[in-house]
Symmetry: C2
Subunit: 441 residues, 2 copies
């Protein structure tokens, strides 16, 4: 016989809702106590790293135009090429400092006292110094050993600090460096009081969990902010940047379209896509996302490249939904297959219904847009005709609209059978002359 259970046999469960429930499954992980996912800053380096892009040659006027656009977008910092690179680079750096932008202007130099003096004289708000620390880079480009690195860095840092401006110390190729050497030198420069330290994946090969470990370890050694710089040779720059923020980094280096050495660094647009998914409110409060497309066009034109077809956000099909089941769901609720809202970027969503993969829900929506009156069965019928033509060749919207309109005319016109007259061709067949699609870049 079953025993009657009494409510007091069970432990009481509080009815209060959990306070730490994550509403956004893509939001910051509450286990990352040091995370800056909701408080990051960007160091926009189109005018420094971007100038190292194979195709880049920026005139002074173009640099000023880009700097103003970056400032308007909301860049926290704008980094420009070393004034030691050439005489014009020095003048350009001064000119950008004199624009009176809201963004802070940084320049990026080798760890060298002469370079530091020239940099400080341009009027920048801060100097980013960099030195090679991995065994590869110690052997080759700068040719310095670790104790020399530490000594030279300290002199340069103290000089820049004495000028009352920001100073960042970064190693190059941090992920192939000896971790003990690396932490030692960061600890030393932190003690002298640098504004921030930087880590750089100069060859573009770090992976996210490696990044998390290194940044977390570094965070336990320094009290200043951590900046990170990721090249994109193996396609992980955006993910690595995000993971660095989770581990406690505060600043991320980006450039418009990611332009830089080789195939570049973390792209501004893709990074914005990543971050808006994590904290929409923060991103919208700081950055004018609807200016992203113009900013990308400005830079793409300046360096003579096209926006990649698959670019995050601004790629021509970033918000285009095609398969029948996707289209159906998107029409019911855009969140189903979309984590980004195109209107945040001043862009529109598009349902690509002109293909053999279309479904009757997508065609129904189009019938309604065309203000035509068809039953569901009729729509399923006309969808079959569209898919049939879509099996023969690529379709465009005009094709689909014609099929729908012809079908609509047929079902709403009293049938008159021509007696012995010439046979009227099936209206679908009229559409079979190929329509050239424009090549999309």
């Amino acid at each position: 016989m079953a025993t009657t259970q009494r409510s007091e046999d069970y432990q009481k469960v509080s009815e209060e809702p959990h306070k730490n429930v994550i509403k956004n499954p893509y939001g910051p992980n509450p286990g990352d106590y040091l995370s800056n996912v909701t408080s990051f800053k960007i160091i926009e380096s189109t005018l420094r790293e971007g100038e190292q892009f194979a195709n880049a040659f920026f005139t002074t006027e173009k640099k000023i135009e880009i700097a103003k656009a970056l400032d308007d977008f909301g860049a926290d910092y704008i980094e420009v090429t070393s004034p030691c690179a050439s005489e014009q680079c020095r003048k350009d750096c001064e000119a950008i400092c004199n624009l009176g932008l809201r963004a802070k202007i940084l320049t990026h130099i080798k760890c060298d006292m002469e370079a530091a003096k020239i940099a400080v004289d341009t009027g920048v708000d801060g100097v980013d110094i960099v030195i090679g620390a991995s065994k590869y880079l110690r052997q080759h480009p700068h040719g310095k050993d670790m104790s020399y690195i530490a000594k030279a860095a300290i002199d340069v840092i103290e000089f820049i600090k004495s000028k009352g401006i920001e100073i960042r110390f970064s190693s190059e190729d941090s992920f192939r460096s000896n971790i003990v050497d690396l932490l030692n030198i960061y600890k030393s420069v932190n003690k002298i009081g640098v504004t921030r330290v930087g880590i750089a994946d100069t060859v573009g090969c770090a992976n996210p969990r490696q990044v998390y470990e290194l940044v977390k370890t570094l965070k336990s050694v320094v009290s200043c902010d951590i900046e990170c710089h990721f090249h994109n040779d193996t396609g992980c720059a955006i993910a690595n940047s995000y993971t660095a923020l989770e581990a406690g980094a505060k600043l991320v280096d980006v450039s418009v379209l990611g332009i830089g050495e080789r195939n570049g660094i973390t792209p501004l647009g893709g990074f914005m896509a990543r971050m808006i998914a994590a904290d929409r409110e923060y991103v919208l409060s700081k950055y004018k996302l609807h200016k992203l497309r113009n900013l990308e066009s400005l830079v793409a034109d300046a360096v003579e490249v096209n926006i990649p077809f698959n670019n995050p956000i601004t790629g021509f099909c970033a918000f285009t939904h095609k398969a029948g089941v996707h289209a159906k769901a998107m029409l019911a609720n855009p969140h189903t297959y979309e984590i980004l809202n195109p209107s945040d970027f001043g862009l529109s969503r598009y349902i690509q219904f002109a293909s053999r993969l279309t479904g009757w829900n997508a065609i129904k929506a189009r019938v309604e847009q065309l203000n035509l009156d068809l039953t569901d069965d009729q729509i399923k019928n006309v969808t079959g005709k569209i898919k049939k033509l879509g099996d023969v060749r690529a379709l465009n919207i005009d094709d689909v609209d014609s099929i729908i309109k012809n079908y609509h005319a047929d079902v709403h016109t009293p049938q008159v059978k021509p007696a012995n007259g010439p046979s009227i061709p099936d209206k679908d067949e009229v559409l079979l002359d190929s329509v050239k699609k424009p090549r999309i870049d």
Copy 2:
């Protein structure tokens, strides 16, 4: 007074080298016991996911050409559009099955018995079934509740299994699904004996550490292989794929250039870049990387897009080094700034020395290529001239070569000063007429 220390005061340290030393800092993490970073497989989905790309319309002939090229490249599996999508799609699926390729042919269907029967009849080596599991997808596209999902899935799986071919069960939008529901259903389908289970980031927003956690948890629940499918809306598809392998996933869905719904999925080329950095030997033993460029061109032409300028590996500047310090180091040792070896892909490295960011080491290398004889001081001098012109406008190789050759002629020709004759213009200035650079796509 110091006590004399005897060797027996200390614990003996074995002199044997550590067996688990990681030689490649970017290689697999020995802490990931379940990692498949060195034993992964690819499911190439250009002919399924790729057909959902806005621009895609593949004729039967083009599908066959692409399937053969994918097979030749070394794809483990080739996934094709559901035979239920249209009559021609069904015929194309059969045609590809009949090619007798080494790669296994899969098709991808909704979890539905009618669809399963049609799929099995095409002669595929396996069927991938998918069902929406997140609350968004449960409300909208398929409209099923969890118990219905489980029941329907089991019937379909048992039917496909009875035909002796591979069967994969995947949820859609796995990262927004209820984890308990998700694990329950995976556990059930594993028990019936599916070949593998799949997780899919259908909206393209998962981040790497999330992926690691989910795959690792799933790995503890199922004994079959795990496949993963990542969309690239927030630029993390490659990193997420890598991290999934670290956590124990075995198979990654890719497509050529990443083409698919919206801005697509993990791109084959970028994924190869990521994986060769982790285990070069494995990747070279399985995939014909030197065929990557032609494969990408084939697909790019078929869907009428250009290879993105910043594409991993095949982007026009993926192996181009520009800044002076980079060029100097690369000339001494290519590993300094390069983790990928362009010759693995049948491609070449390029030092971009024609800009104001150039350095004298890069120019020295060019002088040697030109078979000219200049001292280091002379090379530093001519480098100054090149940087000066580079401050005025974009340079190309011809510009630099002319400056070098003119300088060389000058220093090797006895000076003859024209007496009262017309002044000879500085040879650098002759070069100032702008040279049009081709637009690079």
